[in-house]
């Protein structure tokens, strides 16, 4: 009986795929449940194809960028809170790891508890006073916090001022194996990143994740249904912060040097772009978006001066024509056509 059902569903999928052509074929591939494993496999095989130090460097950086996008996806994609200073959490993680490991000459891995605690604190400090604000105020406050974090790192002596911290000890050394070796570090990063992406995706399907999506769709209705919206939003913030902190820890041990210049608004905007273009709320899409944002510039070296201009225009175009991103989460509200939007605007008295 069950077997019959499944074959039938396969047939309908195929029939629909034929009906809607290439796009549906593509999405049926992407919706396959093994796609994550395939992607991980490709990531693990990459060093066999290309193992120049330059390529490994790029790929490790891209993997770290994926963690950031996954973390921001919790905040923006799941919970609908626009955070324009997300890079501040990367900074908190990187500086915590860098300062502690350098001061005590510890491998960076051992700073993990401190990094997590500092990021939870940072999430609380930024989130607690601001999450009661309206969404657009929240956006600008997070922007302000991001700048304050950078300015603070630039001015304090413990963070090394404008020149930052350099000579951070390696990630870990066990016997003869130094994890700082580019290939080993790449594998380490990919595995940690895969774990974090998976965890974030599972989180999105948990009870808390459903609460986040409810808050995103309609905060007042969520509140009326008994969801403690403030607490739920704060949790989204804290999870986002911890993911950022992990990214920061990897970032610090990958580069072994950090400076305030790495944490400017541009970086926050790039992470946001990865989340938005990939499809807010859909972890697979976000991973793809992050890879695109971090790897495309390597292929588009000739257009480097127009790169960010293009990104900016792309953001506007995506929001106008495809507000759910290129690859929206399954079951997302169907995008509104322009006419529907105008109708809704009229109904709301154009207030929203």
């Amino acid at each position: 009986m069950t077997i019959d059902n499944s074959t039938e569903s396969i047939h309908t999928v195929e029939a629909e795929a034929k009906k809607r052509g290439f796009g549906a074929w593509l999405s049926s591939i992407f919706e396959n449940k093994y796609i994550g494993l395939v992607a991980l496999g490709i990531a693990l095989l990459m060093p066999f194809l290309i193992a120049t130090p330059y390529a490994l460097n790029i790929m490790t950086t891209a993997a770290i960028f994926v963690v950031l996008a996954a973390g921001l996806n919790i905040v923006v994609g799941y919970c609908g809170l626009l955070d324009l200073g997300y890079i501040a959490f990367l900074a908190v993680g990187a500086y915590t790891a860098g300062i502690i490991s350098k001061a005590f000459q510890l491998p960076v891995l051992f700073t993990l508890p401190a990094v997590v605690i500092m990021c939870i604190l940072a999430g609380l400090i930024i989130g607690a006073p601001t999450l009661r604000l309206r969404s657009d105020y929240l956006a600008i406050v997070t922007l302000g916090f991001g700048e304050i974090t950078r300015i603070t790192a630039n001015n304090l002596t413990i963070t090394g001022g404008p020149s930052g911290i350099f000579g951070i000890p390696g990630f870990l050394v066990i016997g003869d194996i130094d994890f700082q070796n580019p290939v080993i570090f790449y594998y380490l990063t990919v595995i940690i990143v895969a774990g974090l992406v998976l965890a974030a995706a599972r989180l999105g399907r948990s009870r808390l994740g459903r609460a986040w999506k409810f808050v995103k769709e309609d905060e007042d209705a969520a509140e009326a249904m008994g969801i403690h919206t403030y607490k739920v939003k704060l949790l989204a913030y804290i999870f986002g912060a911890v993911w950022g902190g992990f990214g920061g820890m990897l970032f610090a041990s990958h580069l072994t040097a950090i400076s305030p210049m790495s944490f400017v608004f541009l970086q926050s905007a790039l992470v946001l772009m990865a989340v938005v273009l990939g499809g807010m709320g859909n972890m697979k899409g976000v991973v793809l978006g992050a890879l695109a944002i971090s790897l495309l510039p390597e292929f588009l070296r000739d257009f480097s001066s127009y790169r960010y201009l293009l990104f900016g225009i792309l953001l506007v175009v995506v929001m106008v024509f495809r507000p759910q991103g290129f690859w929206p989460p399954k079951g997302a509200e169907a995008e509104r056509t322009k006419a529907q939007r105008e109708l809704a605007a009229m109904a709301n008295g154009l207030k929203k």
Binding site: L84, L133, E147, Y306, V320, R341, A344, N348, K352
Partner: protein
């Protein structure tokens, strides 16, 4: 005492720049509840347009000094106003009625496009502004006050006064106020809503463009990211005064200038920006309606 008056004067001077830019933020927010991130970049575009005109017209024009500057400022205001309208038509108008998150992200995209568009056209390196306004100072109550400072503040004051008159006395101004109260109602009463919104963008952007030219001439250096921090600060000023409130934005600009100037005197200049944003966060959490704003209950 001398130092105190100097700090206050500097604060008021910088504050009048903030006020000019804050007006555009506040007008747009008051009417369509849109946080226009690209506004600070319009200020930057204004400075670059001024630079382009002054360099292309050459030395004899530049030697006219203040007169040349005012002419350039007018042209630059027209152009930035037009750019503001174009941004509104392309990026914001199609999204009217869309969720807030989408509109905010669009605004970030527009800001990005303007910044890096200018960087691609004019090269990312900072430029020296061809006309510098500096001159002898006179001592007023112990503060060093230069003539250009007075002239720039006068221009800012005249522009703000004209705007205040425009909004209170003309029919367009009345339409703007009615749209901010009830957009649907205004539509039904025969107000051409889209046209009035475009005009709002034009005026706000023109004021920002004027501020851009003035800042270029006063500080002498322009670059494509100059609008980012000042946009954030102008938003702070608009919030301090009560966002959506025109006179509040002017007041907020002056207050922010003063607070910043006094604050950086107390804790050191390198903390200046952090101090301003801390004020923003304090205001938003403690009194989000600002000094002059009325308490509004959000309707569901």
């Amino acid at each position: 005492m001398d130092q105190a008056t100097q700090v206050i004067w500097d604060g008021l001077f910088v504050g009048s720049f903030y006020a000019l830019i804050a007006l555009g933020y506040s007008m747009v927010y008051g009417i369509i509840k849109l946080l226009n991130f690209a506004h600070g970049d319009i200020y930057m575009v204004g400075a670059f347009i001024g630079y382009a005109i002054l360099t292309s017209l050459g030395g004899s024009f530049q030697s006219l000094g203040l007169f040349a500057l005012i002419v350039v400022m007018m042209v630059s205001m027209l152009l930035t106003g037009t750019i503001g309208v174009i941004v509104e038509k392309l990026a914001y108008q199609p999204l009217r009625g869309a969720p807030r998150l989408a509109v905010l992200i669009t605004a970030v995209g527009a800001s990005f496009a303007l910044e890096y568009g200018v960087a691609a056209i004019a090269s990312p390196n900072p430029r020296g502004f061809p006309v510098r306004l500096d001159g002898d100072f006179v001592l007023v109550l112990g503060a060093r006050v230069t003539l250009p400072q007075i002239i720039l503040m006068l221009i800012a004051g005249v522009l703000m006064f004209a705007l205040d008159l425009y909004i209170r006395r003309t029919s367009t101004g009345r339409a703007m106020r009615s749209i901010s109260l009830d957009m649907k109602g205004s539509l039904l009463m025969g107000v051409n809503v889209n046209k009035v919104i475009s005009r709002t963008f034009f005026i706000g952007s023109a004021l920002a463009g004027a501020a851009g030219v003035m800042a270029g001439a006063y500080y002498g250096k322009i670059d494509f990211l100059m609008g980012f921090i000042i946009g954030l600060k102008a938003f702070t000023a608009a919030v301090i005064g009560g966002i959506g409130n025109i006179r509040g934005a002017m007041l907020g600009g002056l207050v922010l200038g003063l607070v910043e100037s006094i604050g950086s005197q107390l804790v050191g200049g390198q903390w200046r920006d952090a101090f301003a944003f801390a004020v923003l966060i304090l205001f938003l959490t403690l009194r989000p309606t600002g000094i002059l704003g009325e308490r509004v209950t959000e309707r569901v």
